[in-house]
C-alpha cells in the first residue's frame, strides 16, 4: 500500500482575497514582502463558473499539488525535480536546475512557475510540514490536512473484512466499516442487524463468513441486548473483548431502539455505531424515524397531496446523549480526521461503558445521488449545518467539533440530492428554519457545558 501525504486544502468559500497567505509565503521564502516570491497564488474569478458540485466562492487557487504521478519531474532534463518518498513533496534542487523552464510545460496547474525576481522557478515545499500560508490565513480558508497520516497508520493494520463486499457504487459505508474494524482490531465481536451492512455480505452467505472476526446477525430489535449479554460472558471468563454494533438507522432509531435505549441506560460496555442513511435503504427505501422532513421515500411518496415525509426526523444522537451513557458523538465520512479522533475515544470508552457513534452516510441509490458526488454531498451536509459534528461525555458535556458559523445555505445541499428534487421554496425555507433551530439548540448545550466547566 502506497503512502499518503498531508496536503494543503483550499476552501474557496471562506476566502476573501485578503492576500495574507501570499505575504506569509513571500516572507517565509525570501524574507521580504515582495509578492513575486509567493508560491501560492489566489486568483479572483471573473469568469463564468462551470457547474460542478462543491464549487463555491469567487476565488481560485494556483499551487503545487505535490502530484502522486508528477509530470514536472518527467520533463526535467537535469534531474532537479523529484518526488520525496518520505514527505511526498516534489523537491526542487537549485544546484542541479539549469533554469530551462521545461517543468512549467509539464505542470498543467501552474504549480511550478517562473519568479522574475530570482529568475528561477519556484514551487511550494509545504514549509517542511508547517505551511506559513495556512498559519497566516485569518479565515481558515487554507487548511493543512493530516488525514494522510491516519490512512497510513490504518493501512498498516489488517483489514478484517473479506474482499468483495457488495455495497452500492459510491456508498461510503464500506469505507467506514473497513476502517473502523481495522482500528478496533481482532479482539472483538461484531453484531450486524438487518440493513445494508449485512446486505453487502459482511455476515457472509451460505455458511461462509464475510469477516475475519466473530460476526453475527441479530434481529433488528435485540442487537444491543445481545451484545450486552455476550460482553458479560466474556467478562466472566476474564477476556477483554470489544462489542461492536454496526447498525443502520432502522436498527438503532426504530425497531432497534428499545434494546439500544435499555443498554444505554445501563451503560453496558459496547461501541454502537449507527450508520444513518435516513431510512430503510436496503429493503426498498422506506422511511424511518430519522428520515428528514420533505424526503421522498417509497412510503412517503410525492404526489398531489403528499410532498415527501411530513414529520420531522427525530434527533437520535441527542436522544442518546440524554441517556447519560459514557460517550456520544456524530460524524461524517467527509471529515475523516474528526471521525478517527472520535472513534479512538469511543474504542477506549467502550471497555467500560457505552460509546455511541452516529455516522451520517448519504445513500447514492436511495437518495438519488450520482456515485461520484457522494463525497461532495458528505462535505456539503456538514458545511450547510444540515449535519452538525459534535461529541458528548457526561463529565465534559457537549462540544462542537467543527465550527457552525458561516454555513452554506441548506438549499445548496438539498439540490445535490434527487430525493429533494420536488421541494417547494416553502419546504426549503422550512428545512432551513429547522436546521437553524437545531444548530441553536446544540450551541446552547455547548455554551452550557463551557459554563459548567468554568464554574
Amino acid at each position: 500500500m502506497g503512502l499518503s501525504f498531508n496536503t494543503i486544502q483550499f476552501h474557496a468559500e471562506r476566502c476573501d482575497g485578503c492576500g495574507e497567505c501570499l505575504l506569509a509565503c513571500a516572507r517565509a521564502k525570501s524574507g521580504t514582502d515582495e509578492l513575486a516570491h509567493s508560491r501560492i497564488r489566489i486568483l479572483p474569478a471573473e469568469i463564468e463558473p462551470a457547474s460542478f458540485p462543491g464549487s463555491a466562492g469567487p476565488f481560485e487557487l494556483a499551487l503545487c499539488r505535490q502530484c502522486a504521478d508528477p509530470k514536472c519531474t518527467t520533463e526535467c532534463p537535469a534531474g532537479a525535480l523529484s518526488k520525496n518518498a518520505t514527505t511526498g513533496v516534489i523537491d526542487w534542487d537549485g544546484e542541479k536546475c539549469v533554469d530551462c523552464l521545461l517543468c512549467t510545460v509539464g505542470c498543467a496547474y501552474a504549480g511550478i512557475a517562473y519568479n522574475p525576481v530570482t529568475a528561477r522557478v519556484a514551487k511550494c515545499d509545504t514549509c517542511d510540514g508547517d505551511p506559513a500560508c495556512v498559519r497566516a490565513c485569518p479565515h481558515e480558508a487554507l487548511e493543512w490536512r493530516t488525514a494522510a497520516q491516519i490512512f497510513n497508520a490504518v493501512g498498516e493494520q489488517e483489514d478484517l473484512f473479506v474482499r468483495g463486499l457488495a455495497g452500492c457504487q459510491g456508498c461510503n459505508s464500506e469505507l467506514l466499516i473497513r476502517h473502523t474494524l481495522r482500528r478496533v482490531g481482532p479482539e472483538c465481536v461484531v453484531a450486524a442487524p438487518p440493513g445494508c451492512i449485512p446486505g453487502m455480505g459482511t455476515v457472509g452467505f451460505n455458511g461462509v463468513t464475510g469477516c475475519k472476526v466473530p460476526i453475527f446477525h441479530p434481529l433488528l430489535t435485540n442487537t444491543a441486548s445481545m451484545l450486552a449479554g455476550i460482553k458479560r460472558q466474556y467478562t466472566r471468563v476474564g477476556r477483554d473483548v470489544l462489542m461492536l454494533a454496526l447498525a443502520g438507522d432502522g436498527g438503532a432509531a426504530d425497531a432497534g431502539f428499545a434494546s439500544l435505549s435499555g443498554a444505554a441506560g445501563r451503560n453496558d460496555p459496547m461501541l454502537f455505531i449507527c450508520v444513518d442513511n435516513e431510512g430503510y435503504m436496503n429493503t426498498g427505501m422506506q422511511a424511518s424515524g430519522v428520515t428528514p422532513y420533505g424526503s421522498w421515500t417509497s412510503t412517503t411518496p410525492v404526489g398531489e397531496s403528499l410532498h415527501g415525509e411530513r414529520a420531522e426526523a427525530k434527533n437520535l444522537p441527542v436522544i442518546m446523549m440524554q441517556h447519560n451513557c459514557s460517550y456520544v458523538a456524530t460524524a461524517s465520512t467527509g471529515f475523516m480526521e474528526d471521525y478517527y479522533a472520535k472513534l479512538d475515544r469511543a474504542i477506549a470508552v467502550a471497555k467500560t461503558g457505552m460509546a455511541y457513534l452516529h455516522v451520517f452516510t448519504p445513500c447514492p441509490t436511495g437518495w438519488r445521488i450520482p456515485p461520484e458526488h457522494i463525497s461532495a454531498v458528505c462535505r456539503m451536509q456538514v458545511r450547510t449545518n444540515f449535519v452538525v459534528l459534535w461529541e458528548y461525555a457526561p463529565d465534559t458535556g457537549l462540544r462542537l467539533t467543527r465550527p457552525v458559523d458561516k454555513p452554506v445555505a441548506v438549499e445548496e445541499y438539498l439540490k445535490l440530492i434527487g430525493k429533494y428534487k420536488h421541494l417547494s421554496p416553502e419546504q426549503v425555507a422550512h428545512i432551513q428554519h429547522t436546521v437553524n433551530e437545531k444548530v441553536a439548540y446544540l450551541q446552547q448545550m455547548a455554551r452550557h457545558a463551557r459554563k459548567v466547566e468554568h464554574a
Binding site: 469568469i47 523552464l101 521545461l102 512549467t104 505542470c107
Partner: protein, 418 residues
Amino acid sequence: MPHSQYLIVGSSHAALEAATAIRLHDAEGSVTLLTREHRLPYSPTILPYIVSGRSRPEEVTLRDEIWFAQNGVALRRNSEVVRVDPATQSVTTAAGKVWTYDRLLLATGGTPVMPMVPGLSEAKPHVLHTMDDAIALRDAIKQARSAIVLGAGLCGMHVAEGMAKAGLQVSVLIRSRPLREYFSPRAGNLIQAAFAGNGAQMLVGRTPAAVERDGDGCAVTLDDGRTVAADLLMVGTGVTPAMAHLAGSGLETGRGILVDDRMRTSVAGIWAAGDVAEARSFWGGKTVNGILPGAVEHGRIAGADMAQDAALRPFAGAMGLNTYHYFEHHAVSVGLGGQLPDTGEFEIDEQVDAGREKYRRIVMQDGRLVGFASIDDFADPGVMWQLILRRIDLTVMKAAFLAQPQATARRLMSRLWR
C-alpha cells in the same frame, strides 16, 4: 538467448517514461532497456549545459541504479541495436547478441543531420548528440578563442551562448532566423539582438558554401563569398529519426516510424515513441516532433498500451512546446509559434513593448487559443498547452485573456481541470 517480455530500445525520456507506465500496470513482467550508451540515462536537452560547464555529467542522470533495482527494470548498456526482426520477435545488437521480446518499443531518438557542404565532414566538426560529444566540446572550448556555429536551433543557440559567455568570439550562421519553429520574426529579432549585444556575430541569411581545415582550426566560406575562420566548428542543424537499424524490418516509415494514437507501428508487437516516431499532429496530418515533452507523452502512451492499461488515453496530437532561457531572458512557445499553416484564418495579437523588454504573441482561431509565445513575460506554458488541447472557447473572456493571459489562464485552469 536473453528474453524480455517488454524490450525497450533507448534510454532517454520516451524509454524511461514507457518503463514507468509499464510498471504502473504490470508489476511482474520483465522490462529491459537496451542502450548504445555506456552511461546511466541522461537527457539530450541537458547537453548544452554540460558544454557550458553549468552541469556536471555525473549529476544529471535521469535514473540511478537504485531506481532500476527498485522497479525491476534492467538497463543493458553498450547494446546498440542494429537489426530488428519481427518474424522471430528479436533484435540484434552491434556485438551480435540477440534479444527476443513479447513487445518491443523503439525509442531510439534522432541522429544529427550533417548538411551537404564540401569539406564539412573532413573538417570533423563538433556535434552535440551524446554526453561524450558534450564533454569533448566542453574541453575544446577551454582551448579555443573563437568558434563558428552552423544552425540556429535550440542546440546551436544554447552552445553559441555558452561560448560567448566563455569569452570566445562566436559566429552563428543562420539560414533564415533563430528558433523559427517556435518564434515569429519579431521575436527572432529580439533573440538575435540579445546575442549580438553579448558579442556574438549573427550571420543571418547565410549558408556555408565550403569548409576547409585551417591549421588546428577551420575556415568557412559563406554563400556570399566571405570567409570566417575560427578555432572551433560546431554543427547544430537538427536531427533526423534514427532508423538505420530498421532496414528489412518491414516497419512503415515516413520521416520517422509511423505510429497510431497508441504509438503502435504498422507491425504487431512493435511500438515507437519519442523523436524517432512520426505521430499525429494536433493540427492535422503526421509529424516528427523532436521535443522533450512530446517524448514523455509518447512514452507514457506506448508503455500503457504495451501493458494493456485500460486507463490509457490516446495521443491528442503533437504541437510545438518549448521554453528557452538565454542570457538574462526567458521565452516560452506553445502551439503554433513561428509558422502558421496556410489554411485557416488566425487572429494574431503580437505586442513588443516600447522598452523592448517584453514580447507577447497570442494566436487565436474561432475564439480558441492555438498559439502562445512570450519573451520576459511569463505565462504558464503547461496551462496554455491544456487550453489549446481542450479547445476551450475563450470568446466571452477574450479581452481579459489578451490583457492578462497568465492570470486568466490560471483562473480557467482552476475552474475547468483542477
